[in-house]
């Protein structure tokens, strides 16, 4: 306990270590928050759910905060439905059977670019006779454009952007441009101001009802933007944190502890066992770990936990074993070991309680320094297309972005967000680890 306190006090002398500790702490908080706020099943649903989960999101939209840094404001995504307060719905009975339902959707458009897409989703309640609607678009300068007239089914989607007849009426301009363009200007520029979309419908049955949802797919969406399948990247960015931390920490802990134990056993028993361990280490040096991981990924399973197991298995007999062995060989000759043996301590008791505690100071910095390597290994596997098929991870975002030419098409946010988090994780652990190394390693003291 006092050792721990002293170490902590010493760490505070290194500014980089403090920065590292803060980063690691924030990442852990973020990971815990994520796991509580978006439970595992919910995350999978949001990430793998299919079109109905994503239909409200624009495609490959940049994050909202991109607007803070640019002069031209990109269109934000607007979703308005009859359930919202701004939307008014007036119901007027015309006769015993017929009712007039008018839904007014007002919205403010103050962006410098055109939206990505426009869509209107209608839900109707009826028994036999389908309600009939006409959709009218009112611009800030008072022009009224009738978009379309049609009968509404139980649930009907009207993709305004893909209405070719409307496009012809707008003089060949795509509806998402033509409806917003300022008619006074030569080059298509969006007219800013208050727009209104009016859905005026007639229902032909007494209990019939009509509801509408209007979605203006913008150029920006959410805190993290969206990808090529309209998925909200926030989910993957958030869930990447606990996965990266878990993978990195478990792999580092698994390898260092097992390596230390095996080195201890080898040194203590010596002879054939020690030789065997040495030879296994040398053979392991020849085996191509990454190729093996790729093969396991293509042949068996791409589960992240299986990959973790294999990584640990192959890293146990790594170069670390030789370092630990050299130190154990020195410790083995110490008088206190002799004393322990004299009072009859068993072999495993000596290994566990006399040998291993002596190198724990060396182990801790090693462990912390190893974490980033494994975090990046997970990302590397994902970039090779071998990421976990279910879980959203940072590496998988980079892989998706690379595969869809994000750099080529200028969607930098798509690569920068996961990369920055990876970098932050790597830096955090490395900074703490380096400081610990300097504290625990007497030869490096003061250097």
């Amino acid at each position: 306990m006092r050792n721990l306190k002293r170490t902590l006090a010493e760490i505070l002398h290194y500014p980089s270590a403090i920065a590292g500790l803060i980063i690691v702490f924030l990442l852990i908080v973020l990971a815990i928050y994520t796991v509580i706020a978006i439970p595992y099943q919910e995350a999978i649903r949001l990430w793998r759910g299919g079109e109905e989960v994503w239909q409200e999101y624009p495609k490959m939209a940049a994050p909202v905060w991109q607007n803070w840094f640019t002069r031209t404001k990109l269109a934000e995504t607007i979703v308005l439905s009859t359930r919202d307060n701004e939307v008014s719905k007036t119901v007027k009975a015309i006769s015993t059977d017929m009712t007039d339902i008018e839904i007014e959707i007002p919205f403010k458009y103050a962006y410098d670019t055109f939206p990505q897409e426009l869509a209107l989703y209608l839900t109707a309640k009826y028994k036999q006779k389908q309600p009939h609607v006409s959709v009218i678009w009112i611009t800030p300068d008072g022009r009224e454009i009738t978009l379309s007239d049609f009968s509404v089914q139980q649930s009907q989607s009207y993709r305004i952007s893909q209405d070719t007849r409307l496009q012809r009426r707008l003089g060949g301009m795509k509806p998402d441009q033509g409806l917003f363009a300022d008619p006074a200007l030569e080059t298509p520029t969006p007219l800013k101001g208050d727009y209104k979309l009016v859905v005026s419908g007639i229902v032909f049955e007494p209990d019939s009802d009509l509801d509408a949802k209007f979605i203006l797919y913008g150029q920006v969406y959410g805190l993290a933007g969206t990808d090529h399948r309209r998925r909200d990247l926030t989910i993957a960015i958030l869930w990447g944190t606990p996965i990266a931390l878990a993978f990195g920490l478990l792999a580092a802990l698994g390898t260092t502890v097992t390596t230390m134990f095996i080195a201890g056993v080898g040194v203590w028993f010596g002879g054939i066992l020690d030789d065997l361990i040495q030879r296994i280490t040398e053979i392991n040096l020849v085996l191509p770990l990454l190729s093996i991981l790729i093969m396991v990924g293509t042949f068996y399973s791409r589960s992240i936990w299986l990959m973790l197991g294999i990584v640990v298995l192959f890293s146990i007999f790594g170069s670390g074993i030789k370092n630990y062995r050299a130190i154990f060989l020195q410790i083995k000759e110490s008088p206190y070991i002799e004393a322990a043996r004299a009072y009859g301590a068993g072999s495993f008791r000596i290994i566990l309680f006399y040998l291993i505690p002596r190198i724990i100071p060396l182990l801790i910095p090693q462990l912390v320094v190893l974490v980033p390597g494994y975090v990046f290994l997970e990302a590397s596997l994902a970039v090779l297309g071998l990421g976990d098929p279910v879980l959203p991870t940072w590496g998988k975002i980079i892989d998706d972005a690379q595969a869809n030419g994000a750099l080529f098409n200028g969607q930098y946010y798509w690569i920068l967000e996961p990369s920055m988090l990876l970098m932050l994780t790597g830096l955090g652990f490395a900074m703490v680890g380096f400081a610990l190394d300097r504290i625990f390693n007497p030869r490096l003291r003061g250097l």
Binding site: S16, G20, R279, E282, I283, N284, L285, V286, L287, P288, L290, S291, I292, I294, M295, T298, F299, Y300, P372, G373, F376, A379, S380, V383, L384, I398, Q402, L407, F408, G410, Y412, I415, L416, S419, L422, M423, G426, L427, F429, A430, M431, G433, F434, R443, L444, L447
Partner: protein
Amino acid sequence: MSRAISSPEQRARWNSFTKITRYVVTRLLSLFVTVLIGVYLTVIIANMGGYVDEIRRAQIREQIDIMVSMNQQLRFMPLEERNKYIQDLVELQEKRLGLDRPFIVRSFNFLFDAMTLNLGRAQQMVSDSGSSQVRLIILERLPPTLLLFATANLFLFFLSLFTALSLSRHYGSFWDRIIVALSPTSAAPAWFYGIFLILLFAAVLGILPYGGMIDAPPPTGTLPRALSILKHMILPILAIIVSSIFLAIYNWRTFFLIYSSEDYVDMAKAKGLPANMIERRYILRPTLPNIVTSFALTLIGLWTGAIIFETVFNWPGLGRATYRAVGLYDTPVIVGTTVIYAYLLAITVFLLDFIYALVDPRVQVGSEGHKV
């Protein structure tokens, strides 16, 4: 002359000669066994313990099924006869690929071929010149990998070594502190910095290519060709250097600092020897074994290239070939690259023993307790 042999001096020399020979033989044997087992394990793993054979058999059957069903002339053949015809074709094809013998027998054949560097033919991959010889595929991929990684790593090695040497004399200076502060940036691998560099120089600024090795179509003439390759090498080399330079300098610096706090260095300083002489004689010379080891390990690293790095930069080297081979289940290529790597590793480890003895008088080859 015959009397001279029996003189004690000569006998001692003879003794040490036998000692060295015995050491060399045992060392070579143990390295050979290591390579043998390593390669055999790779053979087993690359075939997934015979599982790849199953995949390949299924592929052959499917191909022949399709081929036969597409053949108009065989359309009116009775079903039984047709099945037999298919079966014959499948067996012929399996025999051609050696799939008719049990895997365990073939695994030893693979091992023998691999160890004798008879790397055989690839299952699916072909070299750019159209050959399916594994040897040719590897030889064709090796030069781009070597060109890129040798340039980058040699540059990195000497740059970090000499920067570290000069920093160790200016301990605690501004640059020294900068390097120490920047050393954690090496936690990220080179491909990761590669993405950033591509983003900056190719996507945003548009002054350097996204990847590849040469412009398409390749320019004619030697000089334009070389310039084009050089242009494509800038970003990958920069990525490798940025990703490890700070840690490398930091490690060497710490290492030199530990050595320059030895008493004999203080003594030399007290004698008033010039700084570069102290560096060369009193710091570099005792640390030479470590420098040589590090250099040798750098050289080994060159041979494998880097699978992800070459994929990110679309560099037509050995790493990307390995990745493709794994994707195509092309075991001969996977085994081939591993065998070459294993041999190179063993040779380097073996040579290191002797280089150690050359540069470090404290180490005696064949003496007890010395292990590399």
